[in-house]
Amino acid sequence: MIEELFLIEKDAYKKSPFHDLDARIKIVLCFSALIAVVSLPYSPLVFRAGLIFIIFFGILWASSRLSPVVYLKRLLLVLPFGGFIIFFQIFFQNRYYTVFHPLLSLPFGISIYQESIEFALILLVKFIVSVSFIILLSSTTKMQDFLEGAGRLGMPAEFTLSLGMMIRYLFVFGYVLRKMQQAMESRCFDPFNKELPYKYRLKKIGYAIGTLFIRSYEQGERTYISMLCRGYGRKSHLFIRKKAILRYEWGVLIAGMTFIILIPLFFLQMY
Protein backbone atom coordinates (compact mmCIF):
# COMPACT_ATOMS: atom_id res chain seq x y z
CA MET A 1 0.00 0.00 0.00
CA ILE A 2 2.84 2.34 0.82
CA GLU A 3 4.04 2.19 -2.82
CA GLU A 4 0.71 3.71 -3.79
CA LEU A 5 1.37 6.60 -1.41
CA PHE A 6 3.77 8.34 -3.79
CA LEU A 7 1.38 8.02 -6.75
CA ILE A 8 -1.58 9.38 -4.76
CA GLU A 9 0.42 12.35 -3.55
CA LYS A 10 1.69 13.00 -7.10
CA ASP A 11 -1.93 13.20 -8.31
CA ALA A 12 -2.83 15.45 -5.39
CA TYR A 13 -0.15 17.96 -6.47
CA LYS A 14 -1.76 18.47 -9.91
CA LYS A 15 -3.71 21.63 -10.72
CA SER A 16 -7.42 21.74 -11.49
CA PRO A 17 -10.55 23.60 -10.32
CA PHE A 18 -11.29 20.78 -7.88
CA HIS A 19 -7.68 20.52 -6.67
CA ASP A 20 -7.70 24.26 -5.97
CA LEU A 21 -10.73 24.13 -3.68
CA ASP A 22 -10.07 24.59 0.02
CA ALA A 23 -9.46 21.23 1.71
CA ARG A 24 -12.37 21.88 4.10
CA ILE A 25 -14.81 22.08 1.19
CA LYS A 26 -13.52 18.81 -0.28
CA ILE A 27 -13.59 17.04 3.10
CA VAL A 28 -17.14 18.18 3.87
CA LEU A 29 -18.44 17.37 0.38
CA CYS A 30 -16.82 13.94 0.09
CA PHE A 31 -17.59 12.81 3.64
CA SER A 32 -21.18 14.05 3.38
CA ALA A 33 -21.73 12.25 0.08
CA LEU A 34 -20.29 9.09 1.60
CA ILE A 35 -22.47 9.34 4.70
CA ALA A 36 -25.53 10.05 2.55
CA VAL A 37 -24.93 6.87 0.53
CA VAL A 38 -24.31 4.80 3.65
CA SER A 39 -27.50 6.19 5.24
CA LEU A 40 -29.68 4.88 2.41
CA PRO A 41 -31.62 1.76 3.40
CA TYR A 42 -30.63 -1.60 1.92
CA SER A 43 -33.32 -1.52 -0.74
CA PRO A 44 -33.40 -1.37 -4.57
CA LEU A 45 -33.77 2.42 -4.45
CA VAL A 46 -29.99 2.41 -3.85
CA PHE A 47 -29.57 1.63 -7.58
CA ARG A 48 -31.18 4.89 -8.69
CA ALA A 49 -29.71 6.98 -5.87
CA GLY A 50 -26.30 5.36 -6.48
CA LEU A 51 -26.49 6.25 -10.18
CA ILE A 52 -27.20 9.90 -9.35
CA PHE A 53 -24.36 9.96 -6.82
CA ILE A 54 -21.94 8.36 -9.26
CA ILE A 55 -22.88 10.98 -11.90
CA PHE A 56 -22.24 13.66 -9.26
CA PHE A 57 -18.90 11.99 -8.53
CA GLY A 58 -18.15 11.82 -12.28
CA ILE A 59 -18.71 15.60 -12.65
CA LEU A 60 -16.38 16.29 -9.70
CA TRP A 61 -13.80 13.82 -11.03
CA ALA A 62 -13.94 15.45 -14.48
CA SER A 63 -13.35 18.84 -12.86
CA SER A 64 -10.21 17.38 -11.26
CA ARG A 65 -8.81 16.66 -14.79
CA LEU A 66 -7.49 13.32 -13.60
CA SER A 67 -7.64 10.34 -15.91
CA PRO A 68 -10.45 7.82 -15.33
CA VAL A 69 -7.69 5.16 -15.42
CA VAL A 70 -6.31 6.59 -12.17
CA TYR A 71 -9.71 6.14 -10.56
CA LEU A 72 -10.24 2.63 -11.94
CA LYS A 73 -6.77 1.47 -10.85
CA ARG A 74 -7.33 2.74 -7.33
CA LEU A 75 -10.81 1.24 -7.20
CA LEU A 76 -9.44 -2.18 -8.19
CA LEU A 77 -6.92 -2.02 -5.36
CA VAL A 78 -9.57 -1.53 -2.67
CA LEU A 79 -12.08 -4.02 -4.05
CA PRO A 80 -10.79 -7.34 -2.61
CA PHE A 81 -12.18 -7.41 0.95
CA GLY A 82 -15.48 -5.73 0.10
CA GLY A 83 -15.69 -7.81 -3.06
CA PHE A 84 -15.22 -11.01 -1.08
CA ILE A 85 -18.12 -10.21 1.26
CA ILE A 86 -20.31 -9.05 -1.63
CA PHE A 87 -19.65 -12.18 -3.69
CA PHE A 88 -20.60 -14.57 -0.90
CA GLN A 89 -23.88 -12.74 -0.29
CA ILE A 90 -25.44 -14.57 -3.23
CA PHE A 91 -25.34 -17.87 -1.31
CA PHE A 92 -26.99 -16.56 1.87
CA GLN A 93 -30.38 -15.35 3.00
CA ASN A 94 -30.40 -12.06 4.89
CA ARG A 95 -32.71 -10.15 7.20
CA TYR A 96 -33.60 -7.47 4.64
CA TYR A 97 -35.90 -9.77 2.65
CA THR A 98 -38.71 -12.01 3.85
CA VAL A 99 -39.10 -14.30 0.84
CA PHE A 100 -36.21 -15.90 -1.06
CA HIS A 101 -36.54 -17.47 -4.51
CA PRO A 102 -33.77 -19.93 -5.37
CA LEU A 103 -32.33 -19.38 -8.85
CA LEU A 104 -29.85 -22.20 -8.78
CA SER A 105 -29.35 -25.18 -6.51
CA LEU A 106 -25.80 -26.39 -5.98
CA PRO A 107 -24.43 -29.51 -4.22
CA PHE A 108 -24.24 -29.60 -0.39
CA GLY A 109 -27.55 -27.76 -0.07
CA ILE A 110 -26.13 -24.47 -1.34
CA SER A 111 -28.49 -22.24 -3.32
CA ILE A 112 -28.20 -18.95 -5.12
CA TYR A 113 -31.18 -16.70 -4.42
CA GLN A 114 -32.63 -13.96 -6.57
CA GLU A 115 -33.04 -11.63 -3.58
CA SER A 116 -29.49 -12.35 -2.38
CA ILE A 117 -28.10 -11.33 -5.76
CA GLU A 118 -30.10 -8.12 -5.51
CA PHE A 119 -28.76 -7.51 -1.99
CA ALA A 120 -25.19 -8.18 -3.16
CA LEU A 121 -25.67 -5.61 -5.93
CA ILE A 122 -27.05 -3.07 -3.43
CA LEU A 123 -23.96 -3.55 -1.28
CA LEU A 124 -21.74 -3.28 -4.36
CA VAL A 125 -23.31 0.04 -5.42
CA LYS A 126 -23.05 1.49 -1.91
CA PHE A 127 -19.47 0.27 -1.59
CA ILE A 128 -18.33 1.62 -4.98
CA VAL A 129 -19.97 5.02 -4.50
CA SER A 130 -18.55 5.49 -1.00
CA VAL A 131 -15.04 4.39 -2.03
CA SER A 132 -15.22 6.67 -5.10
CA PHE A 133 -15.60 9.76 -2.94
CA ILE A 134 -12.62 8.72 -0.83
CA ILE A 135 -10.55 8.23 -3.99
CA LEU A 136 -11.66 11.67 -5.19
CA LEU A 137 -10.72 13.31 -1.90
CA SER A 138 -7.30 11.68 -1.58
CA SER A 139 -6.41 12.11 -5.27
CA THR A 140 -7.08 15.84 -5.18
CA THR A 141 -5.95 16.84 -1.67
CA LYS A 142 -2.36 16.87 -0.48
CA MET A 143 -1.93 15.08 2.83
CA GLN A 144 -0.68 18.24 4.53
CA ASP A 145 -3.65 20.21 3.16
CA PHE A 146 -6.02 17.52 4.40
CA LEU A 147 -4.46 17.73 7.84
CA GLU A 148 -4.73 21.51 7.96
CA GLY A 149 -8.29 21.33 6.65
CA ALA A 150 -9.21 18.78 9.30
CA GLY A 151 -7.56 21.00 11.94
CA ARG A 152 -9.56 24.02 10.77
CA LEU A 153 -12.71 21.91 10.93
CA GLY A 154 -12.03 21.15 14.59
CA MET A 155 -9.91 17.99 14.74
CA PRO A 156 -8.27 17.94 18.23
CA ALA A 157 -4.78 19.48 18.40
CA GLU A 158 -3.28 16.24 19.78
CA PHE A 159 -4.39 14.44 16.67
CA THR A 160 -3.36 17.04 14.12
CA LEU A 161 0.13 17.11 15.65
CA SER A 162 0.48 13.31 15.81
CA LEU A 163 -1.07 12.74 12.43
CA GLY A 164 1.11 15.48 10.94
CA MET A 165 4.22 13.77 12.28
CA MET A 166 3.02 10.42 11.02
CA ILE A 167 2.23 11.71 7.53
CA ARG A 168 5.64 13.38 7.27
CA TYR A 169 7.44 10.17 8.19
CA LEU A 170 5.26 7.93 6.05
CA PHE A 171 7.24 9.12 3.06
CA VAL A 172 10.55 8.62 4.88
CA PHE A 173 9.65 5.04 5.74
CA GLY A 174 8.24 4.52 2.27
CA TYR A 175 11.74 5.22 0.94
CA VAL A 176 13.36 3.10 3.67
CA LEU A 177 11.06 0.21 2.82
CA ARG A 178 11.82 0.57 -0.88
CA LYS A 179 15.58 0.53 -0.15
CA MET A 180 15.20 -2.56 2.05
CA GLN A 181 13.23 -4.37 -0.64
CA GLN A 182 15.81 -3.39 -3.27
CA ALA A 183 18.60 -4.66 -1.00
CA MET A 184 16.77 -7.98 -0.64
CA GLU A 185 16.25 -8.23 -4.40
CA SER A 186 19.90 -7.40 -5.13
CA ARG A 187 20.83 -10.37 -2.94
CA CYS A 188 18.38 -12.54 -4.90
CA PHE A 189 16.15 -12.97 -1.88
CA ASP A 190 12.52 -13.53 -2.78
CA PRO A 191 10.13 -14.23 0.13
CA PHE A 192 7.95 -16.23 -2.27
CA ASN A 193 10.79 -18.41 -3.61
CA LYS A 194 9.74 -21.95 -2.69
CA GLU A 195 13.27 -23.26 -3.20
CA LEU A 196 14.27 -21.53 0.00
CA PRO A 197 13.20 -23.13 3.31
CA TYR A 198 10.03 -21.50 4.65
CA LYS A 199 11.54 -21.07 8.12
CA TYR A 200 14.53 -19.25 6.64
CA ARG A 201 12.27 -16.90 4.63
CA LEU A 202 10.14 -16.07 7.68
CA LYS A 203 13.23 -15.41 9.78
CA LYS A 204 14.67 -13.02 7.18
CA ILE A 205 11.37 -11.15 6.79
CA GLY A 206 11.03 -11.02 10.57
CA TYR A 207 14.49 -9.46 10.88
CA ALA A 208 13.70 -6.98 8.12
CA ILE A 209 10.49 -5.99 9.88
CA GLY A 210 12.30 -5.81 13.22
CA THR A 211 14.98 -3.59 11.67
CA LEU A 212 12.32 -1.29 10.27
CA PHE A 213 10.66 -1.19 13.70
CA ILE A 214 13.96 -0.21 15.36
CA ARG A 215 14.68 2.37 12.66
CA SER A 216 11.27 3.95 13.14
CA TYR A 217 11.62 3.93 16.93
CA GLU A 218 15.09 5.49 16.74
CA GLN A 219 13.85 8.05 14.20
CA GLY A 220 11.07 8.84 16.67
CA GLU A 221 13.62 9.34 19.44
CA ARG A 222 15.76 11.63 17.26
CA THR A 223 12.73 13.61 16.14
CA TYR A 224 11.49 13.96 19.70
CA ILE A 225 14.89 15.18 20.95
CA SER A 226 15.19 17.62 18.02
CA MET A 227 11.74 18.95 18.82
CA LEU A 228 12.70 19.37 22.49
CA CYS A 229 15.75 21.39 21.37
CA ARG A 230 13.40 23.67 19.45
CA GLY A 231 11.24 24.27 22.50
CA TYR A 232 8.64 21.55 22.04
CA GLY A 233 6.50 21.02 25.13
CA ARG A 234 3.18 19.78 26.41
CA LYS A 235 1.32 22.77 25.00
CA SER A 236 2.89 22.59 21.53
CA HIS A 237 0.58 22.13 18.61
CA LEU A 238 0.65 22.20 14.84
CA PHE A 239 0.47 25.79 13.64
CA ILE A 240 -2.45 26.14 11.28
CA ARG A 241 -2.79 29.50 9.59
CA LYS A 242 -6.28 30.97 9.45
CA LYS A 243 -7.70 30.88 5.97
CA ALA A 244 -10.92 32.35 4.68
CA ILE A 245 -13.18 30.37 2.38
CA LEU A 246 -13.64 32.25 -0.88
CA ARG A 247 -17.05 33.20 -2.25
CA TYR A 248 -16.97 30.69 -5.12
CA GLU A 249 -15.95 27.95 -2.66
CA TRP A 250 -18.99 28.75 -0.54
CA GLY A 251 -21.04 28.46 -3.73
CA VAL A 252 -19.60 25.01 -4.53
CA LEU A 253 -20.19 23.89 -0.93
CA ILE A 254 -23.79 25.10 -0.79
CA ALA A 255 -24.66 23.64 -4.21
CA GLY A 256 -22.96 20.33 -3.40
CA MET A 257 -24.50 20.00 0.04
CA THR A 258 -27.97 20.85 -1.24
CA PHE A 259 -27.62 18.06 -3.78
CA ILE A 260 -26.21 15.58 -1.25
CA ILE A 261 -28.99 16.27 1.28
CA LEU A 262 -31.88 16.40 -1.19
CA ILE A 263 -31.11 13.19 -3.08
CA PRO A 264 -31.39 10.80 -0.10
CA LEU A 265 -34.44 12.72 1.20
CA PHE A 266 -36.13 12.34 -2.17
CA PHE A 267 -35.45 8.60 -2.29
CA LEU A 268 -36.32 8.06 1.37
CA GLN A 269 -39.69 9.66 0.67
CA MET A 270 -40.26 7.04 -2.01
CA TYR A 271 -39.15 4.22 0.32
Partner: protein, 212 residues
Protein backbone atom coordinates in the same frame (compact mmCIF):
# COMPACT_ATOMS: atom_id res chain seq x y z
CA UNK B 1 -10.28 -7.37 8.43
CA UNK B 2 -10.94 -3.74 7.45
CA UNK B 3 -14.72 -3.38 7.24
CA UNK B 4 -15.48 -0.98 4.36
CA UNK B 5 -18.18 1.69 4.30
CA UNK B 6 -21.73 0.47 3.58
CA UNK B 7 -21.29 -2.87 5.37
CA UNK B 8 -22.42 -1.46 8.72
CA UNK B 9 -25.65 0.61 8.89
CA UNK B 10 -25.12 4.22 9.90
CA UNK B 11 -26.87 3.95 13.30
CA UNK B 12 -24.65 1.04 14.34
CA UNK B 13 -21.56 2.74 12.89
CA UNK B 14 -22.23 5.77 15.14
CA UNK B 15 -22.35 3.54 18.24
CA UNK B 16 -19.02 1.93 17.29
CA UNK B 17 -17.55 5.38 16.66
CA UNK B 18 -18.57 6.54 20.15
CA UNK B 19 -17.01 3.46 21.78
CA UNK B 20 -13.86 3.88 19.68
CA UNK B 21 -13.57 7.56 20.58
CA UNK B 22 -13.71 6.72 24.29
CA UNK B 23 -10.74 4.37 23.84
CA UNK B 24 -8.92 6.89 21.64
CA UNK B 25 -9.35 9.52 24.39
CA UNK B 26 -8.00 7.02 26.94
CA UNK B 27 -5.08 6.28 24.60
CA UNK B 28 -4.25 9.99 24.33
CA UNK B 29 -4.39 10.24 28.12
CA UNK B 30 -2.07 7.22 28.35
CA UNK B 31 0.35 8.78 25.87
CA UNK B 32 0.46 12.02 27.89
CA UNK B 33 0.82 10.31 31.28
CA UNK B 34 2.94 7.25 30.65
CA UNK B 35 5.23 8.42 27.90
CA UNK B 36 6.96 10.95 30.14
CA UNK B 37 4.82 13.87 29.08
CA UNK B 38 5.42 14.89 25.53
CA UNK B 39 6.68 11.75 23.83
CA UNK B 40 3.64 11.60 21.56
CA UNK B 41 5.80 12.52 18.52
CA UNK B 42 7.84 9.37 19.14
CA UNK B 43 4.73 7.19 18.95
CA UNK B 44 3.55 9.10 15.87
CA UNK B 45 6.80 8.37 14.04
CA UNK B 46 6.56 4.75 15.20
CA UNK B 47 3.05 4.63 13.73
CA UNK B 48 4.52 5.62 10.36
CA UNK B 49 7.01 2.76 10.77
CA UNK B 50 4.19 0.29 11.59
CA UNK B 51 2.37 1.49 8.47
CA UNK B 52 5.47 0.67 6.40
CA UNK B 53 5.84 -2.68 8.19
CA UNK B 54 2.30 -3.59 7.09
CA UNK B 55 3.48 -3.27 3.49
CA UNK B 56 5.76 -6.32 3.85
CA UNK B 57 4.10 -9.19 2.04
CA UNK B 58 4.61 -12.44 3.89
CA UNK B 59 3.98 -15.78 2.14
CA UNK B 60 1.31 -17.88 3.86
CA UNK B 61 0.55 -20.91 1.68
CA UNK B 62 -0.97 -21.88 -1.67
CA UNK B 63 0.38 -18.67 -3.18
CA UNK B 64 -1.47 -16.42 -0.76
CA UNK B 65 0.18 -13.75 1.34
CA UNK B 66 -0.58 -11.79 4.47
CA UNK B 67 0.91 -8.91 6.38
CA UNK B 68 1.59 -8.01 9.97
CA UNK B 69 -1.08 -5.95 11.77
CA UNK B 70 1.38 -5.07 14.51
CA UNK B 71 -1.11 -4.23 17.28
CA UNK B 72 0.15 -6.90 19.66
CA UNK B 73 3.76 -6.04 18.85
CA UNK B 74 3.24 -2.34 19.59
CA UNK B 75 1.36 -3.12 22.83
CA UNK B 76 4.04 -5.59 24.02
CA UNK B 77 6.99 -3.35 23.14
CA UNK B 78 5.51 -0.15 24.57
CA UNK B 79 3.98 -1.98 27.54
CA UNK B 80 0.36 -0.91 27.20
CA UNK B 81 -2.68 -1.91 25.15
CA UNK B 82 -3.31 1.81 24.65
CA UNK B 83 -0.15 1.96 22.54
CA UNK B 84 -1.89 -0.31 20.04
CA UNK B 85 -5.06 1.81 20.19
CA UNK B 86 -3.09 5.01 19.59
CA UNK B 87 -0.90 3.66 16.80
CA UNK B 88 -3.59 1.69 14.99
CA UNK B 89 -6.03 4.61 15.16
CA UNK B 90 -3.55 6.75 13.26
CA UNK B 91 -2.75 3.94 10.83
CA UNK B 92 -6.48 3.36 10.21
CA UNK B 93 -7.12 7.07 9.65
CA UNK B 94 -4.42 7.16 6.97
CA UNK B 95 -5.59 3.88 5.42
CA UNK B 96 -9.25 4.91 5.44
CA UNK B 97 -8.91 8.52 4.30
CA UNK B 98 -6.07 8.26 1.79
CA UNK B 99 -6.26 4.70 0.51
CA UNK B 100 -9.92 3.78 0.88
CA UNK B 101 -8.84 0.69 2.81
CA UNK B 102 -11.43 0.38 5.56
CA UNK B 103 -13.96 3.17 5.67
CA UNK B 104 -14.94 6.49 7.22
CA UNK B 105 -18.25 5.50 8.81
CA UNK B 106 -16.73 2.11 9.71
CA UNK B 107 -13.49 3.55 11.07
CA UNK B 108 -14.90 3.31 14.59
CA UNK B 109 -15.59 -0.40 14.31
CA UNK B 110 -12.18 -0.98 12.70
CA UNK B 111 -10.45 0.89 15.55
CA UNK B 112 -12.36 -1.29 18.02
CA UNK B 113 -11.40 -4.52 16.24
CA UNK B 114 -7.76 -3.98 15.43
CA UNK B 115 -6.75 -1.35 17.97
CA UNK B 116 -8.86 -2.01 21.05
CA UNK B 117 -9.59 -5.76 20.87
CA UNK B 118 -6.30 -6.61 19.15
CA UNK B 119 -4.27 -4.43 21.53
CA UNK B 120 -5.96 -5.57 24.74
CA UNK B 121 -6.06 -9.26 23.79
CA UNK B 122 -2.44 -9.16 22.61
CA UNK B 123 -1.11 -7.29 25.61
CA UNK B 124 -2.94 -9.15 28.38
CA UNK B 125 -2.47 -12.60 26.90
CA UNK B 126 1.26 -11.85 26.61
CA UNK B 127 1.40 -10.58 30.17
CA UNK B 128 -0.54 -13.55 31.55
CA UNK B 129 1.42 -16.14 29.60
CA UNK B 130 4.77 -14.59 30.48
CA UNK B 131 3.83 -14.70 34.16
CA UNK B 132 2.73 -18.34 33.85
CA UNK B 133 5.34 -19.77 31.49
CA UNK B 134 8.26 -17.28 31.46
CA UNK B 135 8.65 -18.36 27.86
CA UNK B 136 8.95 -15.51 25.34
CA UNK B 137 8.35 -17.48 22.11
CA UNK B 138 5.23 -19.18 23.47
CA UNK B 139 3.85 -15.99 25.03
CA UNK B 140 4.69 -13.73 22.08
CA UNK B 141 3.37 -16.17 19.50
CA UNK B 142 0.13 -16.93 21.35
CA UNK B 143 -0.52 -13.27 22.14
CA UNK B 144 -0.03 -12.19 18.53
CA UNK B 145 -2.12 -15.11 17.25
CA UNK B 146 -5.00 -14.22 19.57
CA UNK B 147 -4.64 -10.53 18.65
CA UNK B 148 -5.23 -11.52 15.03
CA UNK B 149 -7.83 -14.24 15.57
CA UNK B 150 -10.17 -12.67 18.18
CA UNK B 151 -10.73 -9.39 16.28
CA UNK B 152 -11.66 -11.42 13.19
CA UNK B 153 -14.40 -13.13 15.22
CA UNK B 154 -15.53 -9.74 16.49
CA UNK B 155 -15.66 -8.61 12.86
CA UNK B 156 -17.90 -11.60 12.01
CA UNK B 157 -20.24 -10.71 14.90
CA UNK B 158 -20.42 -7.06 13.84
CA UNK B 159 -21.27 -8.01 10.26
CA UNK B 160 -23.95 -10.32 11.65
CA UNK B 161 -25.43 -7.52 13.76
CA UNK B 162 -25.35 -5.34 10.66
CA UNK B 163 -27.20 -8.02 8.72
CA UNK B 164 -24.57 -8.03 5.98
CA UNK B 165 -23.13 -11.52 6.62
CA UNK B 166 -24.61 -14.54 8.40
CA UNK B 167 -22.99 -15.48 11.70
CA UNK B 168 -21.85 -19.09 11.28
CA UNK B 169 -20.33 -18.78 7.77
CA UNK B 170 -18.81 -15.45 8.89
CA UNK B 171 -17.20 -17.01 11.95
CA UNK B 172 -15.92 -19.95 9.89
CA UNK B 173 -14.47 -17.96 6.98
CA UNK B 174 -13.05 -15.12 9.06
CA UNK B 175 -11.90 -17.50 11.81
CA UNK B 176 -10.17 -20.01 9.53
CA UNK B 177 -8.46 -17.36 7.40
CA UNK B 178 -7.23 -15.35 10.38
CA UNK B 179 -6.21 -18.47 12.30
CA UNK B 180 -3.83 -19.15 9.40
CA UNK B 181 -2.70 -15.53 9.06
CA UNK B 182 -2.35 -15.40 12.87
CA UNK B 183 0.40 -18.03 12.70
CA UNK B 184 2.43 -15.68 10.53
CA UNK B 185 1.59 -12.75 12.83
CA UNK B 186 2.77 -14.86 15.78
CA UNK B 187 6.01 -16.07 14.20
CA UNK B 188 6.99 -12.62 12.91
CA UNK B 189 6.12 -10.99 16.25
CA UNK B 190 8.40 -13.45 18.08
CA UNK B 191 11.26 -12.89 15.60
CA UNK B 192 10.89 -9.10 15.92
CA UNK B 193 10.76 -9.32 19.73
CA UNK B 194 13.95 -11.42 19.74
CA UNK B 195 15.67 -8.90 17.50
CA UNK B 196 14.55 -5.99 19.68
CA UNK B 197 15.67 -7.73 22.88
CA UNK B 198 19.07 -8.49 21.33
CA UNK B 199 19.67 -5.04 19.85
CA UNK B 200 17.62 -2.55 21.92
CA UNK B 201 16.39 -4.27 25.10
CA UNK B 202 15.86 -0.82 26.65
CA UNK B 203 12.87 -0.12 24.40
CA UNK B 204 11.02 -3.35 25.22
CA UNK B 205 8.74 -2.57 28.18
CA UNK B 206 8.76 -5.96 29.92
CA UNK B 207 12.58 -6.17 29.62
CA UNK B 208 12.85 -2.76 31.25
CA UNK B 209 10.74 -4.01 34.16
CA UNK B 210 12.80 -7.24 34.50
CA UNK B 211 16.09 -5.29 34.47
CA UNK B 212 14.66 -2.88 37.01
Amino acid sequence: MHIPDAFIPLNQAIIYWIIALIFVALAIRWARKELSDEKIPLVAVLAAGIFAIQAFNIPVSLGTSGHLVGGALAAIVLGSPFAAVFILTMVLIVQGVFFGDGGITTMGVNIINMGVIGGFVGFYSFKGLMAATKNLPVSGFTAAWFACFIPSLACAFEMYFAGTFPLVPGLITMGVYHAAIGIIEGVITVVVLYLLISVRPDIVAYKRRVNG
